[in-house]
């Protein structure tokens, strides 16, 4: 494939945008044509992304940039838009478009009963558009525009079933969390804009100003502040502590949309920000340490929460939060090898999690309940054996059990952490154990022993869920090939673009991950075997988990503080601002009435005014003559 295909990478953006506009214009009844339109546009985007990836693979140059569309011109400053294709963005393009294609195909099934089905597909297209725009942005300002759009599209999707209880709260949480992140990113961009040479904020210049080796060309304080702000923005988007509640509360989002939010779009956007600005982060050890610390805390916390969740939606949301924490640990290690390991984990997790979420979508729809315990009693596994099996497979991959994909990337992260930061590696391993325990518990509760037997109705049901489930299952099994020990595929070298950086998945780390996850899984299976009362033992912990270990109260307190601030602002507005406006209005009115009074239509008044004017003119004339004489 000639690298010329890179020049057409922007087409990936065009298709979802056109689809979004058309879908919004469609009526509610046009469900079939809406589905056909979205599948075909998503497919077109995917094909182009695939070609771009192949083109990048053949191209040894660092990237292709087209940056010639002048959007804004102010004095000597020119803001131009365009797109940039690097190995990193080609990787993300393919990841995002493939997940989105599978989710869209899946959405042609059960989601069709939704009343506003075309709008739902349209919001998904908007999400895809904004994520792809984010990935292709050549400079931080364009990045910021798509970043905002990404938050907005997520808000639309989370709030899609707005009439159901709890959905509004989830949408508001997402909105607030993304606004906080947006604020941090904006300040970071302004800081960089103010201090960068010639106010350039495109990624190429950033790479030159923050070289891989040696000092940055900016003052240390600015670097640290910008790096910390970028980290805050990313953890808000990637649903890390203390911003994780937005993802957890979104458990009533339609599951296909949740699959996008969890894997391809919003959360991945946060990780992409870190990956894209990694040169800046590398120059700030504090930011890296903070990132790794937040990641470690979140990974452990999310895994514990997932092991205590009641419903499938919450379980998977907590699991996503935890696994993204793991990605942040890897990025926080501060080496390009860790960076590659983190991105690989994002990749493997994305496919496994999408698989589990879509299978859960089928299962929840069949069983009519989200509760794990009641799912187990409903015996849905017999009705849809494919969904049950793929759910199990995805859960095993998420738990990091060998030889599924999650195991390899987990091993890479642990291996990178082992030598320089044993604490972080320990956190990753502990997370593996806890995650495996939680997954074992979920499987035990949702699939009591009899259902795990050979299904009554073997064979694949012919519905739209089959293709995405099978494709995702294949990826979840084989995705680990990306990171075979010793970087046989060259993924690490390729994605970082530097020769020496490839994750060294050592045998020790792999063995440790295998031991931890197997131990966790086995203990989960043993503890929750049929008829055991294990869940009653954890009743108190479960109650704590329901309250998010105090985070729910914290978020309520924050919300109360914010609304107090809003009330104070409103009172100030009523007392001062509105009165000022009334005063201004009255003074203008009074002046107008005063000036209108002489215009009473009587000739004599007009005559008098004319006389007065004449006298004034005469006086002026005389006065001027008087001055000039002197």
């Amino acid at each position: 494939m000639p690298p010329e295909v890179l020049h057409y990478a922007w087409l990936t953006l065009l298709f979802p945008f056109a689809s979004f506009l058309l879908l919004l214009a469609m009526g509610r009844q046009a469900k079939r044509s809406a589905a056909a339109l979205s599948v075909s546009t998503a497919c077109a985007s995917w094909v182009i992304a695939l070609l771009v990836l192949v083109g990048r693979h053949a191209d040894p140059s660092p990237g292709y940039t087209w940056n010639n569309w002048t959007w804004l011109k102010a004095g000597s400053f020119t803001l131009s838009f365009g797109f940039e294709v690097t190995n990193l963005s080609a990787f993300f393009l393919l990841l995002v478009t493939s997940l989105s294609l599978l989710v869209v195909i899946y959405s042609c099934g059960g989601m069709m009963e939704e009343e506003r089905y075309p709008a739902f597909l349209g919001y998904q297209a908007l999400l895809l558009f904004s994520m792809l725009g984010l990935v292709l942005s050549p400079n931080l300002l364009q990045f910021y525009l798509f970043w905002e759009l990404l938050g907005f599209a997520g808000f639309l999707l989370v709030g899609f079933r707005g009439e159901a209880p709890g959905v509004g709260l989830a949408a508001k949480r997402l909105f607030l969390a993304s606004k906080l992140g947006d604020g941090a990113l904006l300040v970071a961009i302004l800081l960089l804009y103010a201090s960068m040479p010639e106010a350039e904020v495109d990624f190429l210049t950033l790479q030159n100003v923050f070289p891989e080796s040696g000092e940055a060309f900016l003052p240390g304080g600015v670097v640290t502040a910008a790096a910390l702000l970028l980290v805050v923005a990313a953890i808000a988007k990637a649903a890390q502590l203390p911003f994780h509640l937005w993802l957890v509360a979104s458990d009533r989002t339609p599951l296909p949309a949740a699959a996008l939010l969890h894997t391809a779009a919003t959360t991945a956007g946060g990780v992409y920000l870190l990956a894209r600005t990694y040169p800046i982060l590398l120059h700030s050890p504090i930011a890296l340490q903070g990132l790794a610390l937040v990641g470690a805390c979140t990974a452990l916390f999310g895994a514990i929460q997932a092991a205590l969740s009641k419903g499938v939606g919450r379980l998977l949301a907590h699991s996503t939060v935890s696994q993204l924490g793991l990605v942040l640990i890897a990025l926080g290690l501060g080496s390009y090898a860790g960076y590659a390991a983190g991105l690989a984990h994002l990749f493997t997790h994305a496919f496994s999690k999408a698989l589990v979420l879509l299978a859960a979508g089928v299962i929840v729809q069949l069983a009519g309940t989200d509760d794990l315990r009641r799912l187990g009693q409903s015996g849905f596994a017999a009705q849809h054996p494919l969904a049950a099996r793929t759910f199990t497979l995805g859960a095993l991959a998420l738990a990091g059990l060998p030889p599924l994909s999650g195991f390899w990337s987990w091993g890479a992260i642990a291996a990178e952490g082992l030598r320089p930061h044993p604490g972080l590696a320990a956190a990753a391993l502990l997370t593996a154990g806890l995650t495996a325990f939680g997954m074992a518990r979920a499987l035990r509760l949702a699939f009591p022993a009899p259902a795990l037997r050979e299904g009554d109705r073997a064979g694949v049901p012919a519905d739209s869920a089959a293709i995405p489930l099978l494709a995702l299952a294949a990826c979840a099994v084989l995705g680990g090939a990306l990171l075979l020990p010793g970087d046989a595929t060259g993924f690490g070298r390729w994605i970082t673009g530097s020769g020496g950086a490839s994750p060294s998945a050592s045998g020790l780390a792999l063995a440790l991950v295998a031991v931890f996850s197997a131990a966790g899984f086995a203990s989960g299976l043993a503890l929750y075997r049929r008829g055991s009362r294990a869940s009653d033992r954890f009743a108190r912990l479960q109650a704590l988990a329901e309250a998010e270990f105090g985070f729910a109260a914290l978020s309520r307190a924050a919300a109360a503080a914010l609304s107090g601030l809003a009330r104070a602002a409103a009172a100030f507005e009523r007392a001062v601002v509105q009165r000022l406006f009334v005063l201004a209005e009255r003074s203008v009115n009074g002046l107008a009435r005063l000036l209108a009074r002489p215009q009473n239509g009587r000739v004599q008044t007009y005559g008098l005014l004319t006389l007065a004017g004449l006298v004034v003119l005469l006086l002026m004339y005389v006065g001027r003559r008087g001055w000039h004489v002197g």
Partner: protein, 103 residues
Amino acid sequence: MNELLVPCLMLGAFLFCLGLYGALTRRKATVVLLSLLMMLNGAILNLVGFSRLGPTPSSSGQVFSLLAILVATATAVVGLSLLLALFRNKPTDDVQDMDELKD
């Protein structure tokens, strides 16, 4: 220059001011019209005064004043007929009530 010129101009100015005062203050429309003619007469007195008693006496000032009287008469006729037309519309001769101009 004749010493009678200044009293003559003073008389003209006095007539003009009297007319102006009347035009701006009287209520009856006919009186206002009369006052306007009085202002005109004050101005004409200036013309006559300068033509007889000014530094370069000539008859052109008197011709001017005759012409002005002619025009003033015609103006008065037009003004009176306007007043009559107004009176048919609205039976009043008080200028304070004639405020249709503001609409």
